[in-house]
């Protein structure tokens, strides 16, 4: 089972009204995007961390690990924004010289980066407030209240169901490949991955046929009643 999903079903806030949780986290998310205010970002980040650790009962270490998931993307993009290249020297507050050009940090990019970093973390916290307390069955109820097209809701439900169904199988195949040195070198690992994807696909096709039969037995006429 996926970690975030597991927490969503087992924390102490699971039983609260789903619409309330949804509205609160989405409101926080959008206010964080709309208003650029460093203090506000910090309040959101700390506040949500407190809600999730104190009220929902998620261990702090685990939550921090979750927050660090996108850190590599964050780090690379922040570095990209932070550093600029120019031939004039007076723009930079911190620089190094390579030949005729300078690579350095300007005041504007530094300001952008600080806001960006804090905003990303605040928004990530708001998303976690949603993802960690709202299990998928409640999300589907929320989507229904929001009058999303039926076909989208059905797809969300079915895709979620199939992900969970095949995740286990997928993990077992992955372990089997590791045990057989399937990732021993680059050439073999490409072949292993191709094999894994293919057997996953064939398993899915056979499951699809079985499901069709079982649905027909239940007089399926094209509607899933969600």
């Amino acid at each position: 089972m996926l970690q975030i999903d597991k927490i969503a079903y087992t924390n102490r806030l699971t039983k609260i009204n789903p619409m309330l949780k949804f509205v609160v986290s989405i409101t926080l998310l959008f206010t964080a995007i709309i208003f650029e205010n460093i203090l506000f970002y910090l309040v959101i980040t700390v506040g949500i961390a407190m809600i999730l650790t104190l009220y929902a009962g998620i261990e702090l270490g685990r939550y921090i690990k979750l927050l660090l998931i996108p850190s590599s993307f964050l780090f690379m993009s922040i570095m990209t924004i932070l550093l600029s290249i120019s031939s004039s020297v007076d723009l930079f507050i911190y620089k190094i010289q390579i030949g005729n050009i300078y690579i350095g940090i300007t005041q504007t990019s530094l300001d952008t980066c600080i806001i960006l970093l804090l905003r990303s973390i605040a928004c990530l916290s708001a998303t976690y407030l949603l993802a960690l307390t709202l299990p998928m069955n409640q999300l589907i109820r929320v989507l229904k209240t929001l009058k999303m097209p039926t076909v989208v809701i059905e797809m969300v439900m079915l895709i979620y169901r199939f992900i969970m169904m095949f995740l286990e199988e997928y993990n077992e195949m992955q372990t089997a490949l590791y045990l057989k040195f399937g990732y021993g070198n680059l050439r073999i690992s490409y072949r292993s991955i191709a094999l894994l994807i293919t057997s996953l696909f064939t398993r899915m096709m056979s499951r699809y046929e079985e499901l069709n039969i079982s649905l027909e037995v239940k007089l399926y006429n094209g509607d899933f009643h969600v």
Partner: protein
């Protein structure tokens, strides 16, 4: 002394950047990273494609309700592919966007709907991508990627290029275009204070697109292998009448 210190500092930062590539997942723009204007802009661009996809799905489902399961399976398949780690050059890891395979088999507009739902799940279940950046990520991964893959596949097939080669180019270029669009989105949103949008585009393309060339190539190779195997198992007929 100070002049000596700064290069070391920058060099170590650069080294860190290179080492951090090891852990990089496919480049979905993370939650809250884009300013509000751009987030809204990319969402608005994606919506028409999404509606088109829903219409297509509805018309398919009306005649063949059984296909609902098949489309959902394709979505789960794309999600699982995105959990897969592929070793690439220099010890870095990536995972396939998976949409190339889907676009070839199911058609691009359907992949838009599936892609959006998969991105939503990635944001909620894997903390990968985000809700506010859903529009931007969907545009690169669920609109541009599939359409490029599908277009290239069709063109190459019409010219009677070998099927493996066409699958390779379709998925590799589709995946590369996804990354290029992501870099363009980032470059436009964060113009360089010195060189403007052009400089920031160059920077982001350099870091997020050039480094992805080997990874896209790998995805192309693997997709071609998978396509070949699927054909072997299922016979070619099932691929052509999949959904349409």
């Amino acid at each position: 002394m100070k002049r000596f210190k700064s290069p070391i500092f920058i060099c170590s930062l650069l080294l860190l950047t290179f080492f951090s590539v090891r852990e990089v997942q496919a480049m979905h723009i993370m939650e809250g990273f884009l300013p509000k204007g751009w987030a809204v802009f990319w969402t608005l661009i994606t919506i028409p494609f999404f509606i088109l996809g829903i219409r297509k799905l509805n018309s398919i489902f009306k005649n063949q309700p059984n296909k609902k399961l098949l489309v959902a399976l394709a979505g789960a398949f794309v999600f699982l592919l995105s959990a897969l780690k592929i070793p690439s050059v220099a010890g870095s890891c990536s995972h396939p966007t998976g949409v190339g395979l889907g676009a070839i088999m199911f058609g691009p507009t359907i992949m838009t709907v599936i892609g959006v739902i998969v991105l939503l799940f990635q944001a909620l279940l894997l903390a990968h991508g985000g809700i506010t950046t859903l529009g931007a990520n969907a545009f690169s991964m669920a609109v541009v990627g599939p359409f490029v893959s599908f277009g290239i596949f069709m063109i190459l097939r019409k010219r009677n290029v070998n099927i493996g080669v066409s699958v390779f180019f379709a998925s590799a270029l589709g995946s590369l275009c996804t990354y290029i669009v992501t870099s363009i989105q980032l470059g436009l949103a964060f113009p360089d204070p010195v060189g403007g949008v052009a400089a920031s585009l160059v920077k982001f393309l350099g870091i997020f697109a050039i480094t992805q060339i080997p990874i896209s190539t790998v995805e192309g190779i693997i997709t071609a292998l998978v396509y070949d195997k699927i054909k072997e198992y299922e016979g070619e007929s099932i691929l052509n009448e999949k959904i349409n």
